[in-house]
């Protein structure tokens, strides 16, 4: 697992190395200072040498100053290392999300992607920031103390050469248990959170149907399950401390016993025994430090895995390499079938054959679930066809570089989004270099100008997040203008005027008719939005029911006539 993140450690190698070096020296001073202290007592007091005592005391203060400076440097470089690591990882993940295709985005849903980009990264980053110091100090203290103690008394050192593996095995066993338990706990937590979230979002429904008790019951179940799983995990995690204490105390007793006997025989001195004892504490303490880091690491594994899932997601739409651009905008569907998931049983679109000439205006109509949106989303390769082929200007869409293809296709999605920023900034998404004349033109064509003049600061009016201060119809018109600014060869309007009143819609339609050399596809539920189209496609259940003009379809197509009749009733002719 750590290996996967090596790249990011390397990126901030210098900071990691400097901070590691700082901690190492700091740890060394921690071992040196008690030695100086020992010399004050053993030499200074014993010899009643006051100047020696003073001199050594100043040396201690000096050492502690150096250790302070090292500590400060460590704080700086470790913070830099951790933050750089996190920033680089976050950037890569974001970059990856930018390269996602629609089906990748469908695979992870939006809230989960956001968590993976925000709190998961923070958790991982905190683990590294907090774990670096003990991770470096632990082994250093251990090795130094271990070698010191072996130097002092190789016989006694056998005691903790036995004790250390025992503690190691205990900790290992605990960790092996704990890893999967943390995973289970995280899953239980996800479930719990999703129950809460669903409940909060649907609170109106819950209240209206008087389902509070039912919801409480549901919550109690997931809450109980989470409680059980975390109790299990923490049960093992908290075995850490008593295990450690047990081994530590046993070692102390053994050392006192064997050391006492050795002194009795005369092969060891008392000073060595006391020194030895303090090293024992240090060694076991450092083992404990290391085990705590592992505990932290295993808790953040879930986050790390979730991030890796994003980074590892294969992006299924890769652009073609041929440097061809869309010149005209003719479209050919050749026996196209499509489904959203490979495992789905039924095709969403099946065996679509269709030719659309460049410059034509085509209407698409059909019932809920007829796959109207699915059909047009194949054109700019938002999804790839399952079988068959889709050609623009005679080239398969998979041959075009994705950027070229999407530049040539302007699309207004059914579920559209405006971003925070001014109206101008939003419009310039279509074309960052758009001149004022072009903006005016697009706004005129999409009938944005009607309400633009009423906005407090015109083009520079700030839309709060998601454009909430605009009505649905106004948002739709802005989205159309944004798409027009691309000067696309193919313009697709996916039910984009549903909230626009009929009179305005007619004006927009007239404006679009002025576009020369643009193939226009309009999906609508309203007959009058498409009745003037060159051709109208009637979709039913993912198949083309019929293609024809308004008059022809009206004359004999059952579905088309049904829709027409219903809408005729609703309007005064």
């Amino acid at each position: 697992m750590l290996k996967r993140f090596r790249k990011y450690f390397i990126k901030t190698k210098k900071d990691f190395i400097i901070s590691t070096v700082c901690v190492s020296f700091e740890a060394t001073f921690e071992l040196i200072i008690p030695m100086i202290m020992a010399s004050i007592i053993d030499v200074g007091v014993a010899q009643r040498n006051k100047s020696y005592i003073l001199q050594r005391s100043f040396l201690m203060i000096f050492c502690s100053m150096i250790s302070l400076v090292l500590g400060l440097f460590y704080a700086r470089f470790a913070a830099r290392a951790g933050q750089r690591f996190g920033a680089a990882l976050r950037e890569d993940e974001y970059r990856k999300v930018q390269s996602f295709s629609f089906s990748n985005l469908d695979h992870f849903n939006t809230p989960s992607l956001i968590t993976r980009l925000t709190s998961d990264i923070t958790i991982l980053q905190n683990t590294i920031c907090n774990g670096l110091r003990p991770m470096v100090r632990g082994p250093i203290m251990m090795i130094m103390a271990l070698s010191m103690s072996i130097l002092m008394s190789p016989q006694l050192a056998i005691v903790f050469l036995i004790a250390m593996p025992i503690l190691g095995i205990c900790l290992f066993l605990i960790f092996r248990k704990i890893g999967p338990l943390y995973g289970k706990m995280q899953k239980a937590l996800d479930k719990l959170n999703s129950v809460v979230q669903e409940n909060l979002i649907a609170i109106r429904t819950v209240k209206s149907f008087v389902r509070g008790k039912n919801e409480n019951q549901k919550f109690e179940n997931v809450n109980g399950a989470f409680c059980n799983s975390s109790e299990q995990a923490f049960h093992y995690a908290s075995l850490n401390l008593p295990c450690f204490q047990f081994v530590m105390y046993a070692t102390i007793l053994c050392i006192l016993w064997f050391g006492g006997n050795l002194i009795h025989i005369g092969s060891m001195k008392v000073g060595a025994l006391t020194g030895f004892l303090s090293y024992v504490l240090q060694i076991l303490n450092s083992l404990m430090m290391i085990s705590n880091v592992f505990l932290m690491l295993s808790r953040s594994t879930t986050s790390a895995n979730r991030i890796l899932e994003v980074l590892d997601e294969p992006v299924d739409i890769v652009g073609g390499t041929e440097q061809v651009k869309v010149e005209h905008g003719s479209i050919d569907f050749d026996h196209v079938s499509f489904k959203y998931r490979k495992t789905a049983k039924r095709d969403v679109l099946s065996d679509i054959c269709l030719h659309i000439d460049a410059g034509q205006t085509v209407g698409i109509i059909g019932g809920t679930g007829a796959a109207k949106s699915s059909l047009v989303q194949l054109i700019p390769r938002l999804y790839d066809v399952g079988s068959g082929s889709l050609k623009i200007d005679g080239h398969d869409v998979r041959e075009y570089p994705v950027a070229y293809l999407r530049d040539a296709v302007g699309m207004v999605l059914q579920k559209n989004t405006l971003f925070s920023g001014t109206i101008r900034e939003n419009l310039k998404w279509g074309n960052p270099e758009a001149t004022q004349e072009e903006l005016d033109w697009a706004c005129r064509t999409a009938c944005v100008d009607e309400f633009l003049s009423r906005m407090p600061e015109g083009y520079d009016t700030d839309l709060s997040q998601g454009g909430v201060n605009l009505s649905g119809g106004q948002k739709q018109r802005l989205c159309i203008a944004r798409a027009l600014l691309k000067h696309p060869k193919i313009l697709i309007l996916d039910d984009s005027t549903s909230a626009v009143d009929t009179a305005t819609e007619a004006r927009i339609r007239a404006g679009l008719a002025q576009l020369r050399g643009t193939t226009i596809l309009i999906i609508s539920q309203r007959i009058n939005s498409i009745e003037h189209a060159d051709r109208i496609i009637v979709l039913e259940d993912g198949k083309i029911n019929e293609v024809g003009t308004h008059d022809i379809l009206l004359a004999h197509n059952r579905i088309y006539r049904d829709i027409y009749e219903i809408q005729k009733e609703g309007a005064i002719a």
Binding site: S67, S238, T368, G430, Q525
Partner: protein, 617 residues
């Protein structure tokens, strides 16, 4: 996240402590045991080191091996007691902590269920959600780690300091001075770092907001080839966060080295002065040695105490935010009129029974129970209502709907259509005026029963994780599979359900992401159908269903509406044409009312809307 929350402090400590102590009290025996065990374990730790001295001086130096064995056996018992207490308190604390967190979480959820809808209007899901996640997490972390750690380090500090005073009262003054320095520094630094952390918080919020917005709009980003432009902006924000976080962490990172070096300084000064005292003969060598060992041990617990105290504070401020919600007054329900079944007795009087027609049971002043048949007669009398005081949405609305009538509301956004629907089943209460249901003021009817007698189909359909059948069953938990399928057929949802991989048993996840808006609405209609209430409220229930499908379900809808009082709020005017009365609302007033033909003949607002001269949104 914990790192950013560390520096928060609760505003009203006393109240928060009272709130949290409610939960602690329930487990006071267990917690008392924990405190005792922590004390034993900490004391075993301190005495364990203290006993080194007699073991060496009395037994090892004189070479008393049997004595050493006895001494070690004694120490062994002490250590064992320490280990067992550690085991005991860690395990017990895990249980207690989980239990307390379980209770708090459960109480919070149950409380949230009782809150009035107006509360949810004022607080976003995100805010409420973070009570369940972040705030509970800080409490859970504090209970799991900080609670015992604070006690432990406190005991160690006190114990060590006692030892120091015993060993040398004079020298302990130096330790006292260094404690004071550490305290001053910790206080100063927590104030300072607060500034850095709030700045980091700001940039973090900025970046997270950007991520949220662009990821949510990712499909539009793709359509416009805007990926690289986004990435550029992301990098700028990411860099800002990185820089500010580095500063904040640097600042908090210097805490440990500074405290450690203060303790070294203390160590050095103590050693120096102690050595002079020893030379002067005021102190013996053994005492000086153990004294210095203890001095060395002071830094760790002080550091730990300070750190864990911060975590406890964060937990308390989390607890405060939770207790704030616990204090919100729940929905008022003083209704006494209940819903029950009744049958017509032989004497022509209604009598309560297990089945039969629905009746309202009202206690008359005489103590008798009046049984009023549930018919669905809804009347508004001069109803005034506003979400905010002083901003009425509805201004003196009066209207009536007789049983079985279909009443439609039409008007532009913000005209108050949805508000009217929410008043009928008392999701909100009227400010003045009254609403009656079969002649009973709705405020006198028990809320649950009132809501059981009405079914609402909202514009946004909320689906829950579970199967399609479960989701339809939400309308009536006792519905049989047959009833569910019947309802689905009625809503014309059966055909698309049949085509799903597992039919009615298809699992919906994440709010039914895989269904289209139209399909979701059909499910909501099925849900209402299975509930089978006398009053039906359709709030833009078919706005995402195309006209063709709407026509297909039209007959079914008619059947669903049969013999029911129906309130229809519609986006599309074709839906409301056949209503008994159409009410055109504007700015909280009724502008026009009448049936379709009358309103068209009036050539007023309805006519304008109808002919598409006005935008409905």
């Amino acid at each position: 996240m914990a790192r950013q929350m560390r520096h928060e402090k609760p505003k009203d400590l006393k109240k928060t402590l009272k709130f949290i102590s409610r939960y602690l009290k329930k487990n006071r025996m267990a917690l008392a045991v924990v405190v005792i065990l922590v004390t034993i374990s900490s004391l075993a730790n301190i005495f364990g080191v203290y006993l080194f001295k007699p073991a060496i001086n009395r037994y090892i130096l004189p070479g008393n091996i049997p004595g050493l064995f006895r001494m070690l056996a004694l120490m062994g018992i002490l250590y064992l007691a320490g280990v067992l207490s550690s085991y005991g308190y860690t395990q017990l604390m895990v249980k207690v902590a989980q239990k307390i967190v379980l209770e708090i979480r459960g109480d919070l959820f149950r409380k949230v269920q009782t809150l009035p809808l107006s509360f949810f209007d004022k607080n976003t899901h995100g805010e409420l959600m973070s009570r369940f996640t972040n705030d509970i997490d800080t409490i859970s972390d504090a209970m799991n780690n900080s609670f015992t750690a604070v006690i432990q380090s406190f005991i160690i500090i006190v114990g060590t300091f006692t030892m120091l005073i015993v060993l040398s009262p004079l020298l302990s003054l130096i330790v006292l001075a260094s404690f004071f320095c550490m305290f001053l520094f910790l206080r100063y630094s927590s104030k300072k770092s607060h500034i850095f952390f709030s700045q980091q918080q700001k940039y973090m919020g900025d970046l997270n907001g950007f991520i949220e917005e662009t990821v949510a709009g990712q499909k539009v980003v793709k359509v416009f080839n805007h990926e690289s432009a986004n990435l550029k902006q992301f990098i700028v924000r990411n860099k800002k966060l990185q820089d500010s976080a580095t500063d904040a962490l640097t600042y908090s990172g210097i805490l440990v080295p500074v405290v450690v070096s203060i303790s070294y300084f203390n160590y050095a000064v103590s050693a120096c002065i102690g050595a002079f005292l020893a030379i002067a003969g005021w102190m013996d060598l053994g005492s000086l040695a153990s004294y210095l060992v203890y001095v060395r041990q002071t830094a760790m617990p002080v550091n730990q105490f300070a750190q864990q105290l911060n975590f406890l504070m964060a937990a308390l401020s989390g607890a405060e935010r939770i207790s704030e919600i616990m204090e919100v007054s729940p929905e008022v329900d003083q209704g006494t009129v209940t819903l029950a079944h009744a049958e017509l007795g032989k004497d022509g009087m209604l009598k309560k029974s297990d089945k039969g027609i629905w009746v309202w049971c009202r206690m008359a002043s005489s103590g008798q129970v009046d049984l009023i048949p549930l018919r669905g007669d809804v009347r508004f009398h001069d109803v005034v209502f506003g979400y905010e005081p002083g901003q009425p949405i509805l201004k003196k609305i009066s209207l009536y709907a007789k049983p079985g009538q279909k009443i439609a509301f039409v008007g532009s956004t913000g005209a108050g259509k949805t508000t009217i629907a929410s008043l009928i089943n008392r999701l909100y209460d009227v400010n003045s005026g009254s609403i009656t249901f079969d002649g009973i003021d709705v405020r006198d009817i028990r809320k649950d029963d009132l809501r059981r007698s009405t079914a609402v189909v909202l514009q946004d359909t909320h689906l829950f994780t579970g199967t399609i059948a479960d989701n339809i069953r939400y309308g009536n938990m006792n519905a049989s599979q047959e009833q569910i399928e019947q309802a689905a057929k009625l809503a014309n949802a059966d055909s698309f359900i049949q085509r799903l991989p597992d039919g009615y048993d298809t699992l919906l996840t994440e709010d039914g992401n895989n269904l289209s808006q139209g399909q979701r609405q059909l499910l909501a209609i099925a849900r209402a159908a299975v509930a089978d209430p006398p009053v039906l409220i359709l709030d833009e229930a078919t706005s995402s269903v195309d006209t063709y499908t709407e026509k297909l379900i039209g007959a079914a809808m008619d059947r669903l509406m049969e013999n029911r009082t129906v309130f229809v709020i519609a986006h599309r005017l074709s839906t409301v044409r056949d209503a008994k009365a159409i009410i055109v609302l504007e700015n909280g007033n009724i502008l026009e009312r009448g049936n379709h033909d009358e309103l068209v003949a009036q050539r007023g607002r309805y006519y304008q809307l109808y002919t598409g001269q006005l935008e409905l949104s």
